[in-house]
């Protein structure tokens, strides 16, 4: 069953009245199956991050549509889109996007706090133990290393038990040892909790860990095998 469907997705930057300056996405079609780990690869500027942002409702497409867990994102208002992101999607950013003024624990629980819903403490403990964060709970993000920060970001993405986890170059700021660790953790946790993971990376080793690799070039998907690698 497909949890994400992308139809003829376009994202142009530039003056609409004139010839677009940049075609970040140019008619992308993609379907992502539930529970699978999909890696999107491609050179810089190929449109990987833009595609991921569209899937997470972080950006508005110029044309086409994105359907996530049966919800057409273009039909949602800004307010609804925010709640959608908070409930349905867990996003892991390359630069972590932690709230510097909150502690590790508060950062992890932030999406739940925004929602006003009580955390499932069993899952929370499990995730933090799994990610080795139990001793870091009272610390602020600026006291953590890059790898630790990214683990906090992963925990934050998992804690809401989202339908989809979108990871944008989650190891981009990490050294190779940390990169392997983080990617391994991501794969392990998503398998554990049966999440669908979509990860943008240009690291071929990490892409090898995925069930499916989608390759992009110049805003288009050039290779998208249906079967696992």
């Amino acid at each position: 069953m497909d949890i994400i469907t992308v139809h003829n997705l376009k994202k142009y930057y530039g003056d609409r009245g004139k010839e677009p300056v940049v075609k970040a996405l140019d008619g992308v079609n993609l379907a992502i199956e539930q529970g699978r780990f999909t890696a999107i690869t491609g050179a810089s500027g190929s449109g990987k991050t833009t595609l991921l942002n569209m899937m997470g409702g972080l950006d508005v497409p110029t044309g086409g549509e994105v359907i996530v867990d049966g919800v057409n994102l273009s039909s949602l208002r800004e307010e609804e889109l925010a709640v959608f992101r908070r409930k349905k999607v867990g996003i892991i950013f390359q630069n972590y996007n932690l709230v510097p003024t909150l502690t590790v624990e508060e950062n992890i629980l932030f999406p739940l706090d925004l929602d006003g819903s009580a955390p499932d403490m069993r899952i929370f403990r499990e995730i933090t133990e799994l990610l080795g964060l139990t001793d870091q709970m009272e610390r602020c993000p600026d006291m953590l290393s890059g790898g630790q920060k990214q683990r906090v970001a992963i925990a934050r993405a998992l804690v809401t038990k989202p339908a989809v986890i979108l990871a944008d170059e989650p190891t981009g700021n990490l050294d190779s040892r940390n990169s392997q660790n983080v990617a391994g953790l991501l794969k392990m946790t998503t398998e554990m909790y049966h999440h669908t993971l979509v990860m943008v990376t240009h690291n071929p080793e990490l892409a090898q860990m995925a069930d499916r690799v989608v390759r992009m070039q110049d805003g288009r998907i050039v290779e998208s095998p249906d079967t696992p690698c």
């Binding site: 800004e78 992101r85 409930k87 950013f93 630069n95 003024t101 909150l102 929602d115 006003g116």
Partner: protein, 841 residues
């Protein structure tokens, strides 16, 4: 789906933000307090200006009551008291009116004690008590002064009065039992007697009453008064309404108070700018932060709550100190805005309403100023918000390639900031122009000139009956005795002293004299209006003038002068006709004539002509302008049109022996001022005589200057503050937004010391380029405005004084900012490592 919107998280984020950005929040809170203070000041000053007017109108009206009904029977009075519009009423039963001519135009009713009326008209004895026994009387001090009644409770007082029942004028003796100072009732008041006294004089209390009424709704008093009478079917009853509730007067008071209320607009504008400049320092960072939390699922509603809570908390921090400091400052300014009150007007007219209003305005101002990141984020997707960077201007492009130096880099940095520095330069220019113009105006008001015109002496003592301009001078008054005069004259601090004694004398102008005076008043001035027409609204003057025109008869005010008073009367050395010879004047055969205060108009008989005073003939030696500030109080209504004749005091005493002293002018050695003032107080204590000192005039002068300059000074100061803050902001932003750029420089081998030098160079260049505009522009604008103002002002006591003091004061402040701000913010941004800073978007 939208139900789960936790708003408590917003509070937590704000509290953490405060903890993490203490300096910014302290700066913001201080600015919010400043804004709140300015709102509180302007609202409080506006209110007390309005209330001050209302108070003065009540004083003019003489009563706190809204409507005064007259000639009522007791049943009519009861009907009015019970009317639905009437909240409460006080009645007055007057048995007559004092008719001594020395009271001049004042009306003093002889009335049966009415505690309610006395309270409403502030006619309650402050010394002694209300009458309790037959023949006892309580009086106001002005009446006592005019009738030369000593302030001695228990003393016998003979008063001439006319009964209200139409009987003829009579003279009766009373026992003074109490008296009060006139705060109200300057033109109309009561003399209180008991019911027994009224019974004894008139065979009972009079049938006719006056009723002072307080209404539930003090608006449209004329209409309400007429309605009350119409409802009772007694439309013919006369009534007056309080001036304080007169529409036109209320409008005038409102317009005057509006000057202060209008300041709120400027405060709002300046406050928004001031806070905005602080918020802007971290605006890009805030926008990215909002984008980040938006990407995690924060809804626009939660973002709005975040913004409102931030503004609310900042307002909460700033409002209390703002209220306190605003009120304290208002209490300092209030005596300069509402003058002449013993109590501080800020306390006297204290109202609570300005405080919530200033609180709300502060919140609005803070909210608008803090909305910048919120407005930027609105309509942006989380991705756009997270990538937000402020646009930098393009650096200057050089035609040919040269080696880069710190100076060239600083020059390039300066040209990148040119767009942002323009508003700062303009606001500084505007503020400095306003301040320099107003400073120059203040400095051009010439105190020496003013004192020369207003205060002839260091101290002018006035007889108790000549203290106020509405009081007719009573020559029988002896509040300044010969003993007092001698004691003052012999005080070692006194360097000059002179007395003025005056007497109204019927005189006759011969053909020549009459022709000269008539020619002046009948002649048309430059506006084509006969000069006498300007006096048309003074019927007493017109009657006196007509009498002189027909019969040549007029009232001469003969003034015996000597010593310092003679010296000052001639001090201006302006002679319309003739000249002054002290030797000849001392022979006692000559007088000096003074008509109007104009230095050119001939309003006296000509010099050289002869006048007869008390049977003795004098020659007019010279004609001079009348010296208004030498003789206080008023003369009789018949003497409204008069000619004053100065004669030597010895001659005056020969003609009018045993005559009181009206005024004494004294000059002293300024080193002994305190000691002399103590002596003066001890001499005049309990006499009723009043003193006006040169320092009183100095206070009035300074107060008037302050009053004239206060609002523009206030506006200019706030704008200057904004301008300086904006300048500091440009310097700070010049560092903060280039966090990554400096990291790149450092990574390429530039030392922190070099970066510091670069920033100082940029600051110096920025200041220099700004001063190149500010100094000539301010100097020229101030000069042009000053010349225009000098040519168009109606004030007589000004002397051109060109000054750019606010500009010179501002330059070191700006220079200090150039030194301190970039270095402080460079320290802040370089706390992070080069790599961390280079990662910043």
């Amino acid at each position: 789906m939208l139900k789960n919107n936790n708003l408590k998280i917003c509070r937590r984020l704000i509290m953490r933000d405060i903890k993490f950005h203490r300096v910014q929040y302290i700066l913001l809170s201080v600015s919010v307090a400043l804004v709140c203070m300015l709102y509180t000041i302007s609202l409080c000053l506006g209110n007390l200006t309005y209330d001050g007017f209302m108070y003065s109108y009540k004083i003019m009206y003489g009563s706190e009551s809204h409507i005064l009904f007259y000639d009522l029977t007791s049943s009519q009075a009861a009907g009015i008291k019970n009317h639905r519009s009437v909240k409460n009423a006080v009645s007055l039963s007057a048995i007559g009116v004092l008719s001594d001519e020395m009271l001049g135009n004042r009306s003093v009713k002889l009335a049966v004690v009415s505690p309610g009326w006395a309270k409403e008209t502030d006619a309650v004895p402050m010394q002694g008590r209300m009458p309790e026994k037959q023949n006892e009387i309580a009086l106001d001090e002005l009446t006592m002064n005019s009738l030369a009644i000593p302030r001695e409770p228990g003393a016998e007082v003979s008063l001439r009065w006319t009964p209200a029942d139409g009987g003829g004028e009579r003279m009766d003796t009373f026992i003074l039992c109490g008296f009060w100072e006139n705060r109200m009732g300057l033109t109309e008041t009561c003399a209180w007697v008991t019911e027994e006294t009224a019974q004894a004089f008139c065979g009972g209390t009079p049938e006719k009453l006056a009723l002072g009424v307080t209404l539930y709704r003090p608006a449209g008093l004329e209409k309400q008064g007429a309605e009350i009478l119409s409802d009772l079917g007694i439309q013919d009853i006369p009534f007056t309404t309080s001036l304080a509730f007169n529409d036109a007067r209320q409008e005038h008071a409102g317009i005057t108070a509006m000057r202060f209320y209008r300041m709120n607009l400027i405060v709002m504008l300046c406050g928004i700018l001031m806070l905005y400049h602080i918020v802007r320092l971290s605006a890009a960072q805030d926008v990215r932060f909002y984008g980040r939390i938006k990407s995690l699922g924060m809804t626009p509603r939660q973002l709005r709550v975040l913004w409102v809570e931030r503004a609310s908390l900042l307002s909460l921090f700033g409002v209390l100190p703002g209220w306190l400091s605003g009120f304290l400052l208002c209490a300092v300014l209030a005596p300069h805005v509402v003058v002449g009150m013993e109590e501080n007007p800020a306390l006297c007219f204290f109202r609570l309403s300005p405080f919530p209003v200033s609180g709300i305005l502060t919140f609005l101002t803070t909210g608008i100023a803090c909305s910048l990141p919120m407005r930027t984020v609105t309509g942006k997707t989380p991705v756009e918000a997270m990538k937000f960077v402020e646009k930098e201007g393009a650096g200057s492009r050089r035609g040919r390639r040269r080696r880069t130096s710190l100076f060239l880099m600083a020059l390039s940095g300066l040209s990148r900031q040119r767009g942002r520095s323009l508003p700062g330069t303009l606001s500084l220019l505007l503020a400095l122009c306003i301040l320099c113009c107003i400073w120059m105006q203040g400095a051009s008001y010439d105190q020496e000139k003013y004192l020369e015109g207003m205060a002839l002496f260091d101290y002018l003592i006035a007889d108790a009956s000549a203290e106020a301009s509405i009081q007719r001078y009573n020559p029988k008054s002896r509040s300044i005795t010969e003993e007092i005069y001698e004691a003052l004259a012999s005080h070692p601090a006194v360097t000059g002293i002179g007395a003025v004694r005056t007497m109204e004398v019927p005189m006759y102008a011969d053909e020549k004299g009459r022709a000269q005076i008539l020619a002046t008043f009948e002649e048309a001035d430059e506006n084509g209006t006969a000069r006498k027409e300007y006096m048309a609204d003074n019927p007493d003057w017109m009657a006196g003038y007509e009498k002189m025109r027909k019969d040549g008869e007029y009232i001469g005010i003969v003034a015996g002068v000597g010593g310092l008073t003679l010296e000052k009367a001639m001090a201006r050395n302006i002679f319309i006709e003739g000249s002054f010879s002290a030797e000849l004047f001392g022979t006692g055969k000559y007088v000096i004539a003074a008509g109007s205060s104009s230095p050119v108009l001939k309003t006296t008989p000509p010099a050289g002509s002869r006048v007869v005073i008390e049977g003795r003939e004098f020659e007019i030696m010279a004609s001079v302008p009348y010296e208004e500030s030498m003789i206080s109080g008023a003369d009789s209504r018949e003497a409204e049109f008069n000619v004053t004749y100065y004669m030597p005091e010895e001659v005056f005493e020969e003609l009018f022996p045993d005559h009181g002293i009206r005024n004494v002018g004294i000059n002293i050695d300024q080193n002994s001022q305190k000691e002399f003032e103590q002596f003066l107080d001890s001499q005049l204590q309990g006499t009723g005589a009043s003193v006006v000192s040169v320092s009183d005039y100095q206070w009035v002068f300074r107060n008037s200057v302050f009053h004239n300059c206060m609002i523009p000074l206030f506006v200019g100061s706030v704008m200057l503050m904004i301008g300086i803050l904006n300048f500091g902001n440009v310097l700070a932003r010049g560092v903060l937004v280039r966090k990554k750029e400096f990291a790149v420089y450092e990574s390429l081998g530039m030392t922190k010391r070099q970066i510091r030098r670069l920033l100082l160079l940029e600051g110096a260049l920025y200041l220099g380029s700004m001063l190149l505009i500010l100094i000539p522009a301010t100097a020229v604008i101030t000069w042009l405005w000053g010349r225009w103002w000098l040519a168009n002002t109606n004030t007589w006591c000004v002397t051109w004084h060109y000054s750019l003091m606010p500009l010179w004061i501002s330059i070191p402040i700006l220079a200090a900012l150039v030194l301190l701000v970039p270095l402080y913010f460079l320290n802040v941004v370089t706390r992070e490592s080069v790599t961390e800073r280079m990662r910043v978007i």
